[in-house]
């Protein structure tokens, strides 16, 4: 890693922080890119609106047609893309730091898969399907998918934690158990789909591929609330995560309350990942790839939180643009993120192996 990580103290009265300059620079550039991508996402599509008009409409101007297309149709979807990217990026940064391993992201560990099982179960049951049909309906159903996803994710994380706890969390054990858990949960999802009525299975399948299509305010709102709570929590945890990186013993010797910190990190990560999954389905590899890319761009010693959120937003909005605008046919955004993420996973595994055998 580059050894040019300079930092400058920032002091206001009794308050003081150490500001890593390169991370601030990279995050600012990322934020600029995110804004450009978001405006493009609002402007482009079946009906193109000039960028200047998009900005005017966002400020409250524009004609009724532009108002409708930008504010009602595209803005919620773009917002969902930004928020989902931010949530997944942050969730990945938290778990990768927590486990001290780049492989330990919610998607590899099965948390996303657990959330998917919860959500698919909710979709299938609310869809007047073969079994449990009509059990859940109406507004309960639309509330039910995010809640079921969160419970599924949380339950998976709890099982994972219990199974891999042996007087501490060993990252390799955590990842192996996570991969196993993920596979078992994928089987449960398949079973649910096989048992469901064909139309419910179809809608669940689209959701499972990670689709940003036709997302409305009802998808954006739960994301905004969750981020409003969990982002500050995560940022408060950063200090303790820095100590935790030095090992469990060192962290406790530095005065970190280990179990409390680990529990908070895990709950925050599961909350972020589950809500994102509930909104758009399991967007593969975002939580896994983004924090590592952000780490390489900011040049620190752990996946950066804010930068992971910003670059997560960039990746998901970018994927939305690609699927809606660049490609001649509509595909779910999850396929785009997979196409980027899978080669990266292979590269990381190969590199880790070389390092270990070198």
């Amino acid at each position: 890693m580059a050894s040019t990580t300079l930092s400058a103290p920032l002091r206001l009265g009794a308050a003081s922080w150490l500001v890593p300059l390169r991370a601030v620079g990279a995050t600012s550039v990322g934020f600029g890119v995110l804004c450009v991508l978001a405006v493009l996402d609002l402007a482009l599509g079946d009906f193109e609106i000039p960028v200047a008009d998009v900005l005017r409409t966002l400020a409250g101007g524009g004609d009724a047609g532009q108002q409708f297309i930008v504010m009602e149709l595209r803005l919620p979807q773009t917002l969902v893309a930004v928020l989902v990217g931010a949530a997944l990026g942050l969730a990945g940064a938290l778990t990768q730091t927590f486990a001290r391993n780049p492989l330990a992201s919610p998607d590899i560990l099965g948390v996303t898969e657990g959330a998917a099982v919860g959500a698919v179960a909710a979709i299938v049951m609310s869809g007047a399907s073969g079994y449990g049909g009509g059990l859940v309906s109406g507004s309960l159903a639309s509330m039910g998918v995010p809640v079921a996803a969160f419970l599924g994710g949380l339950l998976t994380a709890t099982v994972l934690y219990v199974l891999s706890w042996r007087r501490g969390i060993d990252d390799r054990r955590l990842i192996l158990i996570g991969i196993g858990l993920s596979a078992s949960l994928a089987a449960v999802t398949s079973w649910l789909l096989v048992r469901a009525r064909i139309e419910d299975a179809a809608s669940a399948q689209v959701w499972l591929n990670g689709s940003l299509n036709a997302r409305g305010w009802e998808h954006a709102t739960p994301l905004m609330w969750t981020l409003a709570v969990l982002v500050p929590v995560s940022l408060l945890l950063v200090r303790h995560l820095n100590a935790l990186q030095l090992g469990d013993d060192a962290a406790r010797a530095l005065g970190v309350r280990l179990q409390t910190t680990q529990l908070l990190v895990l709950v925050a990560a599961v909350g972020l990942a589950s809500v994102a999954v509930a909104a758009v389905g399991p967007l593969a590899f975002v939580a896994f790839v983004v924090p590592q890319i952000a780490l390489r761009l900011t040049g620190g010693s752990r996946p950066p939180m804010l930068a992971s959120m910003v670059f997560g937003g960039c990746l998901v909005v970018g994927a939305d643009l690609v699927t809606r605008v660049l490609l001649p046919f509509a595909i779910p955004a999850g396929l785009v993120t997979s196409a980027i993420g899978a080669p990266y996973l292979i590269w990381l595994l190969v590199r880790t192996n070389r390092k270990a055998s070198a």
């Binding site: 308050a15 003081s16 030095l246 090992g247």
Partner: protein
Amino acid sequence: MSTPTSRLQASRLTVGYGGAPVVRDLDLAIPDGQVTTVIGPNGCGKSTMLRTMARLLTPSSGTVVLDGEPITSIPTREIATRLALLPQSPIAPDGLLVRDLVGRGRHPHQRWFRQWSREDERIVAAALEMTDVADLADRPLDQLSGGQRQRAWIAMTLAQDTDLMLLDEPTTFLDLAHQVEVLDLVARLNRERGRTVALVLHDLNLAARYSDLIVVMKDGVIVERGTPAEVFTTTMLRSVFGLEADILADPRTGLPIVVPTSCAGSVPQSLTTGGTVPGSPSTAAAS
């Protein structure tokens, strides 16, 4: 030896990991302002004892007392402002700069809104200076030599700004020159800064040279304690380490030097009478 005061004491300490206790009914007071070294064969409970005294492990019975209070009744962060521990194998993430590592030692003194005060800056700079790693401050830890890296870790512990420092095997995996480098630093911290240091060491000669008090452990209990001259006897080495050795006096300091002759029990009697033993494991047993 007159009995000095002690801020950190263990009384009737028993610690286990579920099975048979690793440390049994142990009493120990770390004398203030001195260097205390715990020695003993592998698996005798040295590290377990040290980790329990820093409340990283919970004893199954007995208490650790810090400044007259049971350590379990002191908040975790409060303990960390009075007592620092360098664990046996801490983890340094890739790319972590020496400066950042040492800065993390300030953790117990910081809050979310006060993460880099002038005091933090001053103490970190002093710790870098004291441990001779100031020149390396902007280098990643993984590019340093073993001795430099260990000094950086000690600087991190030093930045915690506690009078009490516990170092768990700070010289393991270092070559002799680097071991001396680290222990010279420990001696300076003790002499110039008045730090109380307790450490676990494997090298008996270095333990004799750098310690005021030697604590000898075997099978979870303390079998001997005293000055190096009091503790290092041929009987102790035989009964605790299973080591046959001569004890000489260092011509410069007068401190004991252990010269192994053979490892008791591992070499048949018939061979030891035949003079030198080829491939004698004695040197390995002493390291």
